[in-house]
Amino acid sequence: MRRRGYWVFLIPGVLLSILVIVVPLVMTVYTSFTKWNGVGDQRWIGFDNYTRLFEDSLFWSSFGNIVLLILAMAVVPTLLGLFLAAVLFDYVAKKFSNRWASLFRSGFYLPQVIPVAVTGIVWGWILHPEYGALNKILDTIGLGSLAHNWLGEPGSALYSVMGIMIWVQLGYPIVMFMAGLQRVDPELYEAADLDGATWWQRFRKITVYLIRPEFYVVLVTTTISALKIFGPIFVLTGGGPSNATLVPSYFAYKNFFEKAQVGYGSAISTVLTVLIIALSIVFLRLQNRAERKA
């Protein structure tokens, strides 16, 4: 039975989307071609913001930092999470009990549910140069010489943020992969056992192979959240010291709300958006191709 006349139900959604998403998006892209301080007139300057952007060393270093953050937020948690999920699902759940496996899963997932501002407080406190717990611990165990202003020195700030982001992200792949593993037919594992496969062989040949759909989803979503990262940078370092942890979204924020260079900020966010969408298209293609092969 062909159903007609359902478009009425789309009206509120379409109107609101135009108001909150389409119009602002178009305005930002337009503004990226103008010089504007947020009040007064916008002056059309063509591609000047973009040429300035590509000559701006801060812009390039903010993207360099993002590459390292993708490592910390997407690559490391995905690989480590895959391994831990396999151990929990295939070893702990079987040799101990499911209860142990879900206990570990919940524990590793905890940092994911904490608001980013609170993550900032917790880690800002632990890494604080004067009263922070980490330096105190190092002192106590006689490694006081390693004590550091972890987030406050250009040499260590980005690495500290990376460590914190691994901590934040790890639980998400574990939950996703453990859920994916539920689909796997236990007989496959039993067959591999009968053939005398070691745990590691089974992990590589069966687990990794069967869990590819989840693997792609996790990699895409975590990479995109790395590209968008703002909150952790704002609360942990404010992009400093001396721009050592600057990222594109924070760079745009500073141009919008601190420097009143709205046109330039718009160009930064437009480039970031194009990058994210391009990356998503590439990932979707790869995923489709992998699915067709399977």
Binding site: L16, I21, P24, Q182
Partner: protein
């Protein structure tokens, strides 16, 4: 995409007891996992023990000693100083309203796209997918500008409207794929009974898809609760701040000493922990739901 719950493997996967005792390696692995788990939750434990420590106690014993007595003044002082009850209320009312309206909007969109299969639905879906991907930075300045023009700047209403639309973009995408698989017999039966489209929606589609809607509601609530960037830009006055914004802007405040900072951390963690415990089942189910596309 399927929305089946996580099935826990049945007991048959558990080996017999004798084999369990035989292998010492498994305890090494368990110990290693426990050590890793301890590392992961250590930051939260450290914050907790220091939040209930008096400054003198802290100065004497350092950050790692257990408090010699429970000291609640740090938490109470901080609570009163930032008027934390009000921030909690702001966060709650915003997240709740967004979750309700976001689910409603997702239902309407998905009804038209998934069940009504309106013309151009693929393009609408592409739009909602892209809307999901957009960084908020690309929307923030025009939204800021427009809300000022409309007199809605520094108001929870603007935040509610914006996040309703943003969350519904995800909800529409997810729910449409669920509604595409909706059993047509049920819809036909409603047709035969002479139910209009709106009545079919409320009395057939919504009740049947209630589990999915529950997942969406939970997600929208928690996501909105944790949002930081747009509330930071929009909610500038003290009375309007949400919990994350209030805590975020106090970071590095000179008046905050070590114990009070950890107190602020603890009362920021607590609501999140409560949601986590309350919604744990829904959450793991929902995370999986978003995955299998």
């Amino acid at each position: 995409m399927t929305l089946t719950a996580n099935r826990t493997p049945t007991a048959k996967t558990e080996p017999p007891k004798a084999e369990k005792r035989a292998n010492p390696v498994r305890f090494v692995i368990l110990a290693a996992l426990l050590a890793l788990l301890l590392i992961v939750i250590a930051p939260l434990l450290i914050i907790t023990i220091n939040a209930v420590k008096s400054p003198a106690d802290y100065a004497g014993g350092g950050p790692l000693s257990l408090p010699s007595s429970l000291y609640w003044d740090g938490i109470v002082d901080f609570w009163n100083r930032v008027d934390f009850g009000m921030k909690l209320w702001n966060s709650f009312i915003t997240s709740f309203t967004v979750a309700v309206l976001g689910v409603l909007l997702s239902i309407l969109n998905a009804y038209a796209l998934g069940i009504g299969k309106v013309k151009g639905r693929v393009w609408f879906l592409v739009f909602f997918l892209v809307a999901n991907l957009l960084p908020q930075e690309v929307l923030v300045y025009p939204l800021y500008f427009l809300s000022k023009e409309a007199g809605l700047y520094d108001s929870l209403i603007s935040i509610v409207i914006i996040f309703t639309v943003i969350q519904a973009a995800f909800g529409t995408y997810l729910l449409t794929s669920v509604y595409q698989e909706f059993p047509t017999e049920l819809l036909d039966a409603a047709d035969v009974d002479g139910a209009g489209k709106l009545r079919t929606l409320w009395s057939v589609v919504v009740p049947v898809s209630r589990p999915t809607l529950g997942v969406l509601f939970t997600f929208f609530f928690i996501w909105t609760w944790n949002e930081f960037f747009l509330p930071l830009v929009f909610l500038v006055s003290n009375d309007n701040q949400t919990v994350p914004v209030a805590l975020g802007v106090l970071q590095g405040d000179r008046l905050m000493d070590a114990t009070m900072t950890s107190a602020s951390g603890l009362i920021g963690i607590l609501p999140a922990m409560i949601f986590f415990l309350v919604f744990q089942r829904t959450l793991t189910r929902g995370i999986t739901a978003g995955a299998i596309k």
